[in-house]
């Protein structure tokens, strides 16, 4: 029943793949088949039965809205959100560390795979080899390379969601925190994180550039700004503006 599949896929246009979508597909398919069968038994042609069944089922776009509103309240939504946030962390992590290990550090220090060297030199190689402005520009480029694709990914993953700027911004912040955590983990052997004095030294004296407070503050602000920029639903805003004008 291609006509039914086509109708059902329009009804479920915004419902992400998962148990709820599968269940809706099954229920609607059963309902349509039985409805069309009953109309057909009443003496209508097959084409008339299809048309009548679709009419009685209702407008696909309106049903999509109802199913979407219900999906937002389904327990599986939490799993969906967590998977996307985790996916965003992976994406940001991969782009950030690949960007750092394969592009930024070789470019600035001229030595491929210098992360072990960075550790051995107590993370001073990067700082000593750069002046402040270049360092900020390089850091900004690295963050942009990692966070813009992540923001685009989260924007798509949380399409049509209420409070999407908060979701995108929160996802970016999570990626940033996970990135910081990973960096800290990588530095475990060298800095001995069991020792609180080492942590304090790392944070206050900023042995690694990206642990300095101004950069931390800039990163947080950047996440919030990107969240707002990529999370806004400009199409909906434009529609509302048009409505207001009308």
């Amino acid at each position: 029943m291609d006509w039914a599949e086509d109708y059902i896929s329009r009804c479920l246009r915004d419902i992400p793949k998962g148990k709820y979508r599968e269940r809706l597909r099954r229920e609607l398919s059963d309902h349509l088949a039985e409805l069309a069968g009953d109309v057909s038994h009443a003496g209508r042609s097959e084409a008339e039965a299809r048309a009548e069944a679709l009419r009685q089922m209702g407008d696909a776009a309106a049903l999509n809205e109802g199913f979407w509103a219900e999906w937002l309240r389904q327990p599986e939504r939490l799993g969906y959100d967590l998977k996307r946030l985790f996916g965003g962390c992976l994406l940001a992590g991969v782009t950030f560390y690949f960007g750092m290990a394969l592009v930024l550090i070789p470019l600035l220090i001229g030595n491929l795979f210098t992360l072990p060297g960075l550790m051995a030199g107590k993370a001073s190689a990067l700082q000593s080899g750069l002046n402040g402005l270049l360092e900020i520009a390089a850091g900004a480029a690295l963050y942009a390379a990692a966070f813009v694709p992540n923001a685009l990914y989260l924007r798509k993953a949380f399409r049509r969601r209420p409070r999407r700027p908060a979701l995108v911004g929160g996802g970016l912040l999570l990626s940033w925190a996970v990135g910081k955590g990973s960096a800290a983990l990588l530095m475990f052997p060298e800095f001995g994180f069991w020792n609180s004095a080492d942590i304090a030294r790392l944070l206050r004296n900023a042995e690694l550039a990206w642990f300095r407070w101004p950069l931390v503050a800039l990163s947080l602000l950047g996440c919030a700004a990107l969240g707002w920029l990529f999370g806004r639903d400009r199409k909906r805003e434009r529609t509302e503006e048009t409505k207001d004008e009308a």
Binding site: D30, M57, D59, L63, F67, E70
Partner: protein
Amino acid sequence: MRVDKELSKGSHELIILKLLSRGDMYGYQIVQQMALLSDRAFEMSQGSLYPFLHRLEREGCLTAYTVSESGRERVYYHLTEKGQGALATKEADWRNYTNAMQQILKGGAL
């Protein structure tokens, strides 16, 4: 017989709970029973029944189970104890509402 859509919207939940209190049913069956028992007064776009059912299930008023019938997977709904309580409350509310409305429509003392 037709009832104004806006008027009937608020009563769909009560109707679904009442029908399911008579026995387990699947979506199409509920719609058919609704139309039959109300002389088609409470017809709704049939697809919009499902968000209602899923909400009631999420709230614990219904449970759902799947049965294979004539090669198709069919989802049946069952009224829970909580659903029976909700039905009793809604029936009482509805009676109060209709009684009050009757009083007004009859034109009581000023």
